[in-house]
């Protein structure tokens, strides 16, 4: 990638930020929370887009942004008041600008008439307000402007002011930094420069106080200065230069202005302490006086300036563009480190106690650092969720217009950070949920008014960190689900038995079943053949969970609980036979040890478990994977009730639960191939590899008459020989 391409990318990233600012600002304005600051911020954002677009040659973008900006400029100058009509046009303009940015970014051909209607509306606003529309093609040069010419010199600000006015004062100045002054981050060089900027300064360095090089403490000042300043400045102004070192130096300023001031030739050795940056070593061999002066100069030029120099340049480097791949590599290495450290921990545990003391202590420290390292690397991959959220206001606006409903979107916690690979997969589910809310949830203004609700419905989109997860909630104050209709629909579709008795919560959760749609008519908005089941699938694919709460007539809330990252996962370590597996915590509903009498064997399947009156199919993992079984009482075995997708519950029979643990996910697809029923692998603390089960696939395998996973060497014998190259 050339640097120009990179810059273009940087520009588009800035555009995204700007678009968000515009969106947020205009929405605020529209809600009547306007302020000059907001108008200014919106103007600035549009202006930035325009400026950058000009530099990178996106002409259409420039033209549109210019018209947009002109209206905002009139608004911020108070020549135009932000009425609802104008703000609506501006919001549309924001959408079009966003389209133009997107198309320019993708390098798409932009239709010449894109936004022409809006452009006309913007111009109309200006002419209605009796304001002239500035032509974007104004001359690139302004005539008749006078600028002060600058006499350039290489030292710039260091150049003494040589104007020789008769009205000048002459001050005799003695300045001797006291011990400790440098430690307070005071740099004599700057003071002298500042002094010099006031007029003609002539100083002699007093180097008598310099110790020999061996005895020299580089953090202490040893040099003093004495000389004259010829200046138009007042005594106060001269004193002000030293205001920060007041008390940390010996200072005397005497006005010695003679009737006709003549100042002696400047002593030539002044330049050395102030400007020289001679290295320390060679000067040691020089004459004692020069030798002692030079280190001090080097010191004053290097040491104290280092700190103040660093801070102002830092903001420019607050972000660095790093390829995602590189970060992934670090994430991987950290994963390895976590594993190695866990293994080390086990080895140490098995050592005799008399040699472990200090070792265990150090290991604790390593563990601590590893965890911090892991967290900071993970945070590098994290991105504020605002990149998804910012697409929603437009969606809400467009849908509200289409449905004739009034909807307000509230967003909270946009700065919550989450792994970017998850962010990328959140857009569709969120879009769908919001579509649903507007299409089916929020009522038309008339209906709302008749039940005493505000005509304007509210959708609240909130994200927050909660217990190691990210929780996103989409709630609306619409009509909520109608349990009767949901149940009837589900019966109609054969999704539940005619006589099944379900709690209201269970009924509400039926909407997650595939093929479910309560809307009587398939609308243009949410009826796109995608149901909530797909939303649920999308969320589960990233290790998340979705749940729903609905209150009839009051609205509903859909909650998404997402993991912080995809690279590390919460897992339940289980044992079946003599093998160890990991079951993702996100699919586990509950674990129990059922009574023999609760398990009903039906034909050849492993059976059904009577779970508080509901029958749940169970899968004997040992049997399915053809593992050597352990001799154990079947009452001792554990059933893990899992959510195998699409709302189906499946019980997985295992021998033992070993505990809950964070595991680093290793893909086996890359190095080996895809194995049905296995989502990946991880390395446990004891150094052994364990497979992470894909519960959904496992339950599918179990229900297939001849499971493909069958072999004589264990779980992976068959597919391994089938897929290895």
């Amino acid at each position: 990638m050339t640097s120009l391409d990179e810059l273009r990318l940087t520009f588009f990233d800035e555009c995204s930020e700007a678009m968000q600012q515009i969106e947020v600002g205009l929405t605020e304005l529209r809600e009547g929370n306007g302020s000059d600051d907001i108008i200014n911020a919106v103007f600035r954002s549009v202006h930035s887009v325009k400026g950058g677009a000009g530099i990178f040659g996106f002409e259409q973008l420039v033209r549109f942004a210019h018209a947009f900006e002109t209206v905002l400029d009139a608004m911020r100058a108070g020549k135009l008041s932000p009425t609802q009509e104008i703000l609506d046009v501006l919001l549309t303009a924001g959408d079009i600008l966003s389209d133009l940015v997107t198309m320019s970014r993708a390098g798409d051909e932009i239709p010449a008439d894109l936004g022409s209607e809006c452009l006309a509306a913007l111009e109309q606003i200006m002419s209605d307000g009796g304001l002239a529309t500035e032509d974007g093609s104004a001359p690139a040069e302004f005539e008749g402007l006078d600028f002060m010419p600058v006499a350039f010199d290489q030292t710039g600000i260091d150049e003494p002011n040589t104007t020789d006015d008769p009205g000048l004062h002459v001050y005799e100045i003695v300045f001797r930094p006291a011990a400790g002054m440098l430690k307070k981050a005071n740099e004599p060089l700057f003071l002298l420069r500042e002094l010099r900027s006031l007029g003609t300064l002539e100083l002699v360095a007093e180097t008598g106080g310099l110790p020999s090089l061996e005895e020299l403490d580089p953090t202490e000042p040893y040099i003093g200065w004495r000389g004259t300043l010829r200046t138009a400045a007042t005594r106060d102004q001269v004193e002000e230069v030293f205001s920060f070192v007041d008390g940390d130096c010996e200072l005397s300023i005497k006005d010695v202005t003679p009737p006709m001031a003549t100042v002696s030739e400047s002593p030539s050795d002044f330049a050395a302490p102030a400007e020289a940056s001679a290295p320390l070593a060679p000067t040691a061999a020089a004459t004692p006086a020069a030798a002692s002066a030079a280190p001090a100069a080097a010191k004053s030029a290097d040491t104290p300036t280092a700190a103040p120099k660093a801070s102002p340049t830092k903001p420019a480097a607050t972000t660095t563009r790093v390829e995602l791949e590189k970060i992934d590599r670090v994430v991987n290495m950290v994963g390895e480190l976590v594993i190695a450290q866990a293994m080390l921990g086990q080895i140490v545990q098995n050592l005799p106690e008399d040699i472990t003391g200090r070792l265990a202590q150090m290991l604790d420290e390593v563990t601590h650092h590893t965890r911090e390292l892991k967290d900071s690397v993970m945070s590098m991959r994290a991105q504020p969720i605002s990149s998804v959220f910012q697409r929603m206001p437009r969606l809400v606006r467009e849908l509200a217009t289409k449905t004739g409903k009034k909807v307000r979107l509230e967003m909270l916690g946009e700065n919550t950070e989450i792994d970017r690979s998850i962010i990328e997969r959140l857009g569709d589910p969120l879009t769908h949920i919001i579509r649903n809310s507007i299409d089916h949830g929020i009522e038309v203004p008339g209906d709302r008014a008749s039940v005493g609700k505000n005509e304007e419905g509210t959708i609240r989109l909130a994200a927050e960190h909660r217990g190691g997860r990210i929780v996103i909630e989409v709630s609306d104050d619409g009509g909520g689900l109608n349990p009767e209709r949901v149940l009837n629909k589900a019966r109609e579709k054969g999704l539940v038995g005619q006589d099944a008795t379900l709690s209201e919560d269970e009924i509400n959760n039926l909407v997650f079943l595939p093929g479910f749609s309560t809307a009587a008519t398939v609308s243009d908005i949410s009826g796109r053949g995608v149901g909530m089941d797909v939303v649920r699938r999308n969320i589960q694919d990233v290790g998340g969970r979705i749940s729903l709460k609905s209150e009839r007539g009051r609205g509903m809330t859909i909650q998404l609980a997402l993991p912080l990252t995809l690279a590390v996962m919460d897992g339940m370590v289980i044992k079946v036979g003599y093998e160890t597996y990991v079951v993702p915590m996100s699919v586990i509903v509950e674990c129990l040890r059922p009574k023999r009498s609760d398990i009903h064997n039906l034909v050849s399947t492993s059976g059904m478990l009577n779970l508080r009156g509901n029958l749940v199919p169970i899968v004997d993992l040992a049997e399915l994977l053809d593992l050597r079984k352990r001799e154990m009482d079947s009452d001792e075995r554990v059933v893990i009730i899992t959510d195998a997708g699409e709302g189906t519950r499946v019980g997985i029979v295992v021998d033992e639960l070993c505990g809950h643990q964070q595991v680093v996910i290793k893909s086996i697809e890359e190095s080996y191939g895809s194995v049905p029923g296995v989502a990946g692998a991880t390395i446990l603390g004891n150094g052994r590899v364990a497979f992470i089960l894909d519960v959904e696939k496992v339950s599918e395998l179990a229900s297939t008459p001849a499971p493909p996973v069958r072999g004589n060497g264990g779980a992976y014998a068959q597919p391994m020989s089938a897929t290895i190259n």
Binding site: S3, L4, L7, R8, T10, F11, E14, A41, F43, R44, H47, S48, K50, G51, G52, G54, I55, F56, G57, E134, D135, G136, S137, A138, P139, A140, E141, F142, L145, D146, F147, M148, P149, V150, A151, F152, D153, Q154, T155, G156, I157, D158, E159, F190, R193, E194, S197, L198, Q237, E240, V241, T305, P308, K309, S311, P312, T313, P315, A316, T319
Partner: protein, 129 residues
């Protein structure tokens, strides 16, 4: 004659892309010593702590805009003599007039080419070598 390679220039703009673009263009005319700041306040910090030969600053910035920066620079005992070029858009004549009154030494209209940049800088500091 000022030596381009020895010049220290501070570029102030809230947009990273514009700063980088300006930096690249400055490099094309031989100016390699470029500091950056993303708003007037940060620029002021830099300008008061580093010897600078030129400031090229955008107008529209949060925190402190270009005119604010110009006024702060001109009012500062150490930094007040640093030459100042205001970056502006087409048609912002009013702004440029204000800047001239506040002590700007020239202006530069975005987008600009390396030739124009050199021309403007030379108008301010003299022919570059």
């Amino acid at each position: 004659m000022p030596n381009a390679a020895g010049m220290k220039v501070l570029v102030v703009d809230d947009q990273n892309s514009v700063r980088q673009m300006t930096r690249i263009t400055l490099e094309q005319i031989g100016i390699r010593h470029v500091h950056e700041a993303e708003n007037g306040k940060l620029a002021m910090d830099t300008a008061t702590l580093q010897p600078l030969d030129l400031i090229i600053s955008d107008y529209n910035m949060p925190e402190m805009d270009g005119l604010g920066l110009l006024r702060a620079i001109r009012g500062h005992p150490v930094a007040r003599k640093i030459p100042f070029i205001l970056l502006t858009g087409r048609g912002d004549r009013e702004l440029v007039v204000k800047a001239a009154q506040a002590g700007a030494n020239n202006y530069l209209i975005k987008p600009f080419t390396a030739d124009i940049l050199r021309q403007k800088i030379e108008q301010v500091v003299g022919k570059l070598s």
